[in-house]
């Protein structure tokens, strides 16, 4: 898709908005988007633009992943379907294609980022414990960065205790 402003470069920023009482979609190239002050930190935000540069999942990821046609049982998607549409078909796709999605997800969220926020009620004991361990490890890193070794020692003991519990299960 060409940029609606310059009509030359590929559009990578896609805006969906309301103007003059109507719903409109606006497609801009990176340069025009920057010039117009509408640059997204992540281009292609909210879109399913599998083949465009900066898209959440790119075609190179497919090639790297090979051609085994593993299918998600919940929605019927193959990995290729995800890269074609730029979106997984259901939550289970993240589980089924977890390893293959990893490089793309790391591109978005960074290498080491893991969820540290709210946990739903239905989460298992295991999940809760693992989550707590992740949280503590982050605190531990921070404590070490701040040279707060006393706190770091406490955190390390707590992590060991939880990890031991986990091993027993």
């Amino acid at each position: 898709m060409l940029c609606q402003n310059c009509q030359r470069a590929d559009a990578t920023t896609h805006l969906k908005r309301i103007a003059n009482g109507e719903y409109t979609e606006i497609h801009l190239c990176a340069e025009c988007a920057a010039a117009l002050g509408v640059t997204d930190v992540f281009p292609g935000f909210g879109g399913g633009f599998g083949n465009l540069p900066g898209a959440a999942f790119s075609v190179t990821d497919v090639r790297r992943a090979g051609n085994r046609a593993l299918r998600c049982e919940t929605c019927g998607f193959t990995f290729e379907d995800i890269t074609r549409t730029g979106k997984p078909g259901c939550p289970d796709c993240y589980r089924v294609f977890g390893e293959k999605l990893k490089p793309s997800l790391q591109k978005i969220h960074g290498r080491s980022a893991v969820h540290t926020g709210k946990i739903p009620n239905g989460a298992s004991e295991d999940t809760l414990r693992e989550h707590r361990i992740t949280e503590l490890k982050e605190k531990l890193n921070r404590a070490i960065d701040e040279q707060n070794f006393e706190q770091a020692a406490q955190l390390r003991d707590e992590i060991r205790r939880l990890s031991a519990e986990e091993a027993q299960v």
Partner: protein, 340 residues
């Protein structure tokens, strides 16, 4: 510390921050994302969510998006109660809305469930608490798709983690009119946040109103994301205060402010663009004691006099000329009454 011009508005940091908004994206485990669902399965999602909320004693208005006139749907987006894309492809989409409109839940948007809470002024914590109460209520009756490492499993991989977007809508006339915002944009991006115009198309920001939002939802807690955004909003507010203090001393600027007031108090026709521009000047003047207008009332007019909103007020799709007349009439009445 700059206290700014808070005294003139009823809301926290209300001189610069018009509203705070949070959005939580959630999906039901084992169910394909809405784009892969047919009408029957979308309806099943809607029913399940409504039943769960009912059981939790949460009373909400149920709005079937496919039954609205297009302008009615667009008016909801103008008020920021729904996303722009929720107004198109409305089959099987339902909006749940509390009486006071502070909580809205979009069903079958990009995700099964998008909970949104809005508060006036700088109050993202309160907005989050309100949204979280509905999240908890839904969590009690539904199984949310969740992964220990990836967090909430949402359709857009950028929404993994907390599924939280926090944003503030800010009126920044001095920064915007002196060209200070463009310098800010790259700094804001480096902090993992995003800034864009809240109204108007891609090419122009209307009314000097900007939306600043977090972009990072992974590896960060809800409280951290909210605190980060709040800190940034306060910094921007301080810069606006500094810029405005000099800006409003300029005779040229004062001239623009008084002329804008003259236009709004006398115009017989007022386009959206002209209204946004003139209201921005008058609101700036009001904050610095240059006129008697009420800043909060102007904040409200930015929203309520948008095109589709006027159609809703009139109960019919008006022509652009009819809207301009209605808009001018409303603004004249409002500003002439305030001044007395």
């Amino acid at each position: 510390m700059s206290t700014g011009t808070n005294a003139k508005t009823a809301y926290p940091q209300g001189d610069t921050v018009l509203s705070s908004r949070v959005r939580l994206a959630r999906n039901i485990d084992g169910v394909p994302f809405p784009v892969r669902l047919n009408a029957t399965r979308r309806a099943a999602v809607n029913r399940k969510v409504c039943e769960t909320l009912q059981k939790a004693g949460k009373k909400m208005r149920v709005i079937d998006m496919s039954r609205l006139y297009p302008y009615e749907a667009v008016a909801l987006a103008e008020r920021h109660l729904i996303s722009p894309e929720f107004t198109s492809g409305t089959e099987g989409r339902v909006l749940l809305l509390t009486e006071d409109e502070r909580i809205s839940i979009m069903l079958n948007e990009e995700d099964h469930i998008r909970i949104q809470a809005i508060e006036p002024g700088l109050a993202p914590e309160q907005a989050y608490r309100n949204a979280a109460a509905y999240d908890d209520a839904l969590d009690a009756g539904l199984r949310f798709a969740f992964d220990n490492r990836l967090g909430y499993l949402n359709q857009n991989p950028r929404d993994l983690g907390t599924g939280l977007r926090v944003s503030v809508m800010m009126h920044l006339p001095a920064l915007s009119k002196t060209g200070g915002m463009s310098k800010f944009a790259s700094m804001i991006a480096k902090l993992g946040m995003n800034v864009r115009g809240s109204y108007g198309d891609a090419a122009s920001v209307k009314g000097d109103i900007f939306r600043i939002s977090n972009q990072v939802s992974m590896g960060i807690t809800e409280a951290e994301a909210i605190a980060n955004l709040k800190t940034l909003a306060m910094q921007i507010a301080t810069r606006e205060h500094t810029a405005a203090a000099d800006f409003v001393k300029d005779i040229g600027v004062r001239d623009r402010i008084t002329r804008a007031e003259g236009v709004l108090k006398n115009a017989m026709l007022l386009s959206t663009d002209e209204m946004m521009e003139m209201l921005s000047w008058v609101r700036l003047g009001a904050l610095y004691g240059l006129n008697g207008a009420d800043p909060d009332a102007i904040s409200e007019m930015f929203v309520s006099l948008q095109p589709a909103a006027l159609n809703v007020t009139a109960g019919a799709k008006l022509t652009s000329a009819q809207r301009d007349e209605l808009r001018a009439e409303y603004v004249r009445r409002k500003l002439n009454a305030d001044g007395e």
